[in-house]
Amino acid sequence: MIEIKNLTKIYKLNKKQMKESKTTDTLKTAVDNLSLTARPGEIYGLLGPNGAGKTTTLRCISTIIKPTRGEIFVSGHEVKREPEKVREKIGFLTGDIKLDPQFSVDYMFNFFGRLHHIQEDKLAARKEELFTYFGIKDFSHKKIKELSTGMAQKAAIAVCLVHDPEIIIFDEPTNGLDVITARSVTDYLKKLKAEGKLVIISTHVMSEAEKICDRIGVIIDGQKVAEGTLGQILHDTNAEDLEDAFFELYRHQKGGK
């Protein structure tokens, strides 16, 4: 289970970042007092526009960055106090995280498996299972740099799941993937959910959220503006579909503009 209590993340901007953001403020609040709970056996989707704070939230959960204020519990372990314990429980993947291009898929799988203290026989069985599912058995001996984007992404997903984590965190899981690869990824997320895992994803693709998420948290300007099942959100916003609901929430958050 993931429990976020009043999470706030404030970044200090350097001059270049201030110029890019067209602001004179040296501080930027990426996530503002966000609280949410995601439970095992569900796919929780963080939905929001670019820069809303989705990725920052996921990075705080996965211990890559530290919350400025608030607390995050992952399977009972607080991210600031027990980051290694948290990392044992999660599998985190984002488009920014890549596998070392100098090594083969096989090598990287074994390397991360050993980092997770998986026994060799179990590692081999897990490799067989994941490589077969993602269809990467035939090119597992190839170096990552020799693979296509789709193949490399599949390999990264397989490596990220090497330790059979309780919680899977995917930042924009299908971003940049072709339709077939994207489908195999979303199907696998559903499979994980069926196995009782907690999957938390961020996306700005409404159709993806509609199709695979059990519950959705809508984030705009770092604040959670809605949370619930698709039906609940549509009901609360009196919208026909998620896209309409999102625009209604967005308009409301921006003061009716």
Binding site: I64, R87, E88, T94, I97, K98, L99, F103
Partner: protein
């Protein structure tokens, strides 16, 4: 501990599993170094032989009877010409077409044979071009050698007892005049050069790999995958530094081995006349200190790389540090005074002094201990700083 081993193993695999990498990191620099040094050594040797084999062209003005024969007897290959046009002859010296001009006074023979006390002593003037190798060699051989012999021969005609004029000689029959410990003399030469080479070899060997290990991983986005693994950041740091130490250590052993093996070729077959061997105690002291230096340099490279976002940026940060360390290594080459004990507490500089001291067998146990301790402590402090930097999301650009 297993995390450190895994990270270290991966970094070593990155180098040792890639044939191209092995060749470019360990063998290409050796081939280039030996190739260039051998070429330079051979060229310099050939140039020296060419100068020795050269037939000197000597122009003489007012040559006394018998002098050309005397000169021929001393330097049988030289070509002798009578100088008729002074301007033309000096121009030939300037252009390298002639090697030496010898100008005798007009009535040289009369001045010598009819010399009475109080007369002006005749002066033979020689002219050469020091920027021309042939001319300089002709000057050394003839002006200071043959003419001195010619002077002695004329003097013997004037004085019956030549020995009566000799008050003393210096080392005319003293083959044992050089008293030195062969090992110390060899160590002195090595001690001048080794700190400089160790710095180049250890630092340069680790520089490219080290910047790629940290800044390269950040640039490629592969560092983040390590940071979300259940491994302490300090283990990632130590794993990388140890791997870098091993790589720079192996590369320096290969480089030094190649230097020793190909030394005769690189110096063009010349004999230094020194004993460049080391005793077991020196080898042990050197080995331990080199491990400590490799640790320190690896930590410095990793530290600098942590603050860079790309390998290019890291390389530009590392270069000034490399230059600084190089200068500190070179300063010991020109140190003559015995440094105080406190100097051995100055990191980096102390390693150059200690290396020199080990080779000349002049370093004390205290000085060696201080150097080793300070190097390890300074390296450990840097590891701590790197660990802190790894915790910083701003530094790690994540």
């Amino acid at each position: 501990m297993s995390g450190i081993k895994l990270i270290c193993g991966k970094e070593l695999d990155r180098v040792f599993r890639d044939r191209k990498m092995i060749f470019s990191v360990f063998f290409l620099p050796v081939i280039i170094m030996v190739g260039i040094m051998s070429l330079v050594g051979n060229l310099s040797n050939n140039a020296q032989k060419d100068v020795e084999a050269h037939t000197s062209i000597v122009y003489i003005q007012n040559s006394p009877v018998g002098f050309p024969q005397f000169l021929k007897a001393a330097d049988k290959d030289c070509k002798i010409y009578e100088m008729s046009d002074w301007e033309k002859a000096t121009e030939m010296i300037k252009n390298g077409d002639a090697d030496l001009l010898i100008k005798f006074p007009e009535n040289f023979v009369d001045m010598v044979s009819g010399y009475k006390q109080g007369d002006v002593i005749p002066q033979i003037k020689t002219y050469y071009n020091p920027s021309e190798d042939y001319s300089r060699a002709a000057y050394d051989t003839i002006s200071t050698g043959v003419l001195e012999a010619y002077r002695q021969s004329l003097l013997s005609q004037r004085v019956d007892n030549m020995e009566g004029l000799t008050v003393f000689t210096v080392n005319s029959d003293n083959p044992d005049m050089v008293i030195q410990d062969e090992e110390k003399a060899g160590g002195k030469i090595l001690g001048m050069m080794l700190p400089y080479f160790v710095t180049i070899l250890l630092f340069a060997g680790a520089m490219g790999i080290g910047t790629d290990m940290v800044a390269g991983e950040k640039e490629r986005g592969t560092m983040a995958s390590l940071l979300v693994s259940p491994i302490k950041r300090s283990s990632i740091v130590l794993g990388k530094v140890i791997a870098l130490m091993i790589i720079s250590g192996v590369s320096s052993v290969i480089y030094v081995g190649a230097l020793v093996a190909f030394m005769p070729q690189m110096i063009g077959g010349a004999d230094l006349g020194m004993n460049l061997t080391l005793n077991p105690k020196q080898i042990a002291m050197l080995a331990v200190l080199l491990v400590a230096i490799a640790f320190l340099y690896s930590a410095i490279i990793v530290l600098v790389s942590v603050f860079a976002r790309t390998t290019k940026e890291a390389s530009s940060y590392v270069m000034p540090v490399y230059m600084l360390i190089l200068v500190l290594g070179m300063t010991t080459m020109f140190t003559t005074k015995t440094p105080g004990e406190w100097v051995y507490a100055v990191p980096i500089y102390n390693t150059s002094l200690a290396l020199q001291g080990i080779l000349t067998q002049e370093v004390t146990t205290m000085q060696y201990g201080i150097t080793l301790g300070m190097t390890l402590v300074f390296g450990a402090v840097l590891i701590g700083v790197i660990g802190k930097a790894f915790e910083s999301e701003k530094v790690m650009s994540i």
